[in-house]
């Protein structure tokens, strides 16, 4: 499905645009989360074969003919791990933002210019 792969790339572009042009720190973290969602959509759309079904061998899919009726299961495995790790990294970034805001009382990233703590 080329449409879904193109949609994933458009989401990545919107995320990069948001990260580069916004000054509010929460909007930057939000852009990062959008980039993650776009990458996962691209990865799952690569493993899809037209006309086949999910990789679960119950009454709907015959065990002997499973090679011709099943979608690639390996990209789903990689994306499953990546979604959970994306949540952990987003939570860690938000905790950094909270700590920075407590120090200087400002949510704009232009006020946190110098490097000393």
């Amino acid at each position: 499905m080329q449409l879904i792969t193109g949609l994933g790339f458009v989401l990545i572009m919107i995320g990069i645009w948001g990260m580069l042009t916004r000054k509010n720190m929460i909007k930057i973290v939000l852009g990062f989360s959008l980039i993650d969602t776009g990458i996962h959509i691209i990865m799952v759309s690569i493993g899809y074969i037209k006309g086949r079904t999910a990789p679960i061998l119950n009454k709907a899919v015959d065990k002997a003919k499973a090679l011709q009726e099943v979608v690639d299961p390996v990209p789903s495995v990689l994306v499953l791990t990546a979604i959970v790790i994306g949540l952990a990294v987003t939570a860690l970034m938000l905790v950094y933002v909270v700590r920075l805001q407590k120090k200087k009382k400002s949510m704009q990233i232009d006020d946190h210019g110098e490097l000393e703590w």
Binding site: V10, Y48, S76, V79, I83
Partner: protein, 82 residues
Amino acid sequence: MELVILVVISLVMIAAAIMAIYSKNLISAIISAGVVSLLASIIYLLLAAPDVAMTEAAIGSGLTTVVFLYALNKMRKSGEDG
């Protein structure tokens, strides 16, 4: 028929992503990001990957929104800015 559903979902998803970046109110931006994750979960169902759809629906539009709202609450309480 499936192409029509895909086109509609793609347009709504791109509109929600643009609203998440451009909106001035922070709470609308956070909820728009949750809507993007929800529509991505429907696309995973159309791509025959039910495990990924369940995980994305639970984590992307559930826990990520809650974590963002908790962080926003902590920042609003300690200093009135933004």
